[in-house]
Symmetry: C2
Subunit: 519 residues, 2 copies
């Protein structure tokens, strides 16, 4: 069931709902129009988790999701140890309706990256399903309740077409006796371009005793008298038709994804508690695979933690036979083509790979220290129990051991101390580029100049810091030392828990179905 | 010659250049990914021309042009009175190369608007020609000159793939004696995702005695020794190959449109003088048709000034025969399909319509008060002379008579006085929405609250202001009057020259070929 657009959304939705309700767990993936909004939102090794969240929030509220993949893993009722992955690949497009006209940022390199994987931008823009979060829905509701709210205050259209339209109607209103409605064909491109809600409110505002209906090609105006007009207005607001109009405009909305239920909160703490309420068990495949890399080293299955490589490893004969009684995983109806070819970075296929990898890993982890004679087919509940320590921890880019905890305080940093660099002669001015060229051969570094003669340097791992200290001991121009003020001030030191929350567009989550939770 | 993408750009470019060199004039049109960046950049009747320019500058620097249409109107050498319109429709896409990775904003409604006209977004993103302005070109040149400039300072990539790559190379460097180059296939998706320039600089920074070459599928590393390395670096910078690499990355760039020659200047005055230097004669078809509406009223050809309607009117038999000896206008090679169907809002077709309309109008205007017996086929120079008073004046949205002058001071405002609204009882608080609902039936208004009990209202035309004053004479809640402080202060009053410079995405220009000007 791949490629869900506004054309088939309503037909397909019941199938999606059923699969989600029946699922043991759901795997998600998304494709974004960008990863990094600008230089100010670039992640650095200096970021505190709060600062990082603020950067991500700014980025995420400006970019948009163009595709979302959902794989619902349902236990096969006819088989003891088999899951069926029902995969859905939604194209999404931001809503355009009345006062809601979303602006979103694209990063040129991100779209070109999607090109490598044959992303269909026409499907995204022509056929993407529109969705609203609660705030946008409220905005639209307000607009519908007070149809003229935006009249003259909120719009930015060329007036000439509207003035012409109003003159035509005025002429007809006062010049003719006929009761036959007036039909105005939208042949003028300015009229075609003007949104219907503006035409409605312009006309109805100007003439208190008319009624307007508008379709794709024409505007129809009837003389109705003020009394009738009032009752028609009431009817319009209350009637089902009104709802139908809304639905039509926002392209079959009703799709309402909980992650989008509000705009992201300012506070990092609030975000953590909110997301934890919505999704009580989140397993980040990036975090679980990073954590198990060492313990499962001898399996050779986790050599690369890139999603595609993981899928390949666990899909291989070796991966499937590493521990017996691993569940079989079948593709749901409509996904048979996933057997013939791989579709990396199609959100649907990525979500499928993500859930697939999780099941295989959970099985291996569950029976890690257990004799093979005692391995049995096993319930999903037991898998969840065995992987419990990895739940609700989100991997952080640019660090080997660090993660964020959604359900408790973030862990204490395991980052090396900051380095302090000063120039030996006052006349030698430090430059970030020069320091980067000196230090980066030893690993990843971020540099913050503190003045013309001093700088702080954050490094990503202990080996890097150690090598820099060692190799710059007798440097002719600069002295490098551990930054001891920071070292001895635990309050300040605490801020160095850097993290990329949700790890941008390449991250996939495994979500435990929230069906048992109250909405 | 429609649909120029990076695939055929280099083949087609000589044809484009020849057509432009031979042209009497060039007509332009462009399609944008948005028209209004956000609420802050919305145009209002209060804007001064400087404020309006600042708003447009912010919008234009954030959106991007996805398609540009160029029609070069060339006199047919074999015919006395005939032009051939060579139309080129370029798909453009912002550059991704080294430090240049453009972010651009899309307005959801603008892209949906393009959908109505079958815009191909895949062609835009997959095949769009990249272009650089001078500042971006300089940035890239600096990057190429100091390849490691951005090392550790400017990038934001997942380190694990790079760390793995570096380990592999280190192992090979120190573990093997062989002089055979090492080839690393880019099968890891993180490597595929990482831009080549980062891989180059990571590897070359870490290992001073290797040389790297990278293609689509693999990275090749040779041991070369430090001396050889230095000479290879020099060679790379100087050689033609270096230029070839640049060209390849930016997708066959060299296309360099003068309008993009720099980022827009902060100062409105500087912008005006700069654009006037680049394009000494600009004729805005919107301005000329608006200005000639009254004088040519009896022709019935200018009833609507929307580009499509104008083309239809002037393309009709009546439009072509209104004044004899109007030039015939033929389509250049590759544009024959424009005869069979119309392609509104394809930038190429719009630029063709724009130039077509200009020629027809220029002919009518040239012979407006001349006996038909004295009408003769006429040179383009004479057309330019007859339309001289309309040159370098840019139409302004939301006004009937106002325009901006590129080659002199802007004209004095012909806007009506501001209205001053105050509530009769202190307890009655004014609201912008309420005032808009009261006043907008009389015309377009913008409201600026000055406090809980007073507001200023700008109106678009005199009739509107007059009607409001008349109808609110005895209003129970508010008193409305002309705002006399402003009226009597010409210095302050002067600021009310509102304007939409360049009129956003629907505007088309006729440019006189700048071929006779020094570049």
């Amino acid at each position: 069931m791949v490629g869900i657009t506004k054309a088939n959304f309503e037909d397909v939705f019941p199938t999606v709902e059923t699969a989600i309700r029946k699922a043991e767990f759901i795997a998600l993936d998304a494709e974004f129009t960008g990863l990094q909004l600008n230089k100010q939102t670039k992640s650095t090794l200096f970021d505190t988790s709060e600062e990082r969240y603020a950067k991500l929030r700014r980025t995420i509220s400006n970019i948009t999701i163009c595709q979302i993949g959902v794989s619902a893993f349902v236990k096969d009722p006819d088989s003891e140890n088999k899951y069926i992955a029902h995969t859905f690949n939604f194209y999404l497009y931001p809503p355009v309706f009345g006062p809601v006209d979303v602006r979103f940022t694209c990063q040129a390199s991100s779209l070109r990256f999607l090109c490598k994987y044959n992303f269909d931008f026409n499907k995204f823009i022509y056929d993407g399903i529109s969705y609203l979060n609660a705030e946008q829905e409220q905005q639209i509701q307000q607009y519908l309740d007070r149809k003229d709210l935006f009249q003259g205050v909120e719009r930015d259209v060329d007036e000439s077409a509207i003035q012409k339209l109003l003159s035509t109607v005025a002429e007809w209103m006062f010049g003719t006796e006929t009761e036959k409605p007036l039909e105005i064909v939208k042949d003028d491109e300015d009229l075609l371009y003007t949104q219907d809600y503006i035409l409605h409110s312009e006309l109805r505002n100007r003439f208190p005793d008319i009624w307007t209906t508008i379709d794709k090609t024409k505007i129809t105006i009837e003389k109705v008298g003020e009394e009738k007009r009032k009752s028609l207005e009431k009817e319009e607001v209350q009637s089902k038709e009104q709802q139908a109009t809304l639905t039509q405009y926002v392209d079959g909305l009703t799709f309402y994804y909980d992650k989008f239920h509000k705009f992201l909160p300012r506070s990092y703490k609030e975000f953590k508690s909110e997301i934890h309420k919505l999704f009580p068990v989140i397993i980040d495949t990036k975090h679980i695979t990073n954590s198990l890399r060492k313990p499962l080293e001898k399996t050779d299955l986790l050599k690369s933690t890139a999603l595609g490589s993981l899928y390949e490893a666990f899909h291989s004969q070796k991966g499937q036979q590493y521990v017996i009684h691993t569940p079989s995983i079948a593709l749901g109806p409509g996904c048979e083509h996933y057997l013939e070819a791989e579709f990396p970075h199609e959100a649907g296929f990525d979500s499928y790979m993500c859930g697939y990898v999780f099941l295989r890993i959970a099985h291996i982890e569950t029976f890690r220290d257990i004799l093979s004679t005692e391995v049995v087919p096993c319930s999903f509940r037991r898998y969840l129990h065995s992987t419990n320590e990895y739940a609700n921890k989100i991997n952080i880019i640019r660090a080997n051991l660090n993660y964020l905890s959604l359900d408790c305080e973030d862990p204490v940093s395991e980052r090396p101390d900051l380095l302090f660099v000063r120039s030996k002669k006052k006349s030698y001015k430090l430059e970030a580029g020069q320091i980067a060229r000196w230090f980066s051969p030893y690993g990843s570094v971020d540099i913050s100049l503190k003045g013309p003669n001093s700088a702080l340097v954050a490094t990503s791992h202990f080996g890097c810091a150690r090598d820099i200290l060692k190799n710059f001991k007798r440097h002719e121009k600069v002295a490098v030392s551990k930054y001891s003020v920071w070292k001895h001030s635990p309050v300040v030191r605490n801020v160095f828990i850097a993290g990329t929350l949700l790890s941008g567009g390449l991250c996939a989550w495994v979500l435990w179905s929230s069906r048992k939770q109250p909405a």
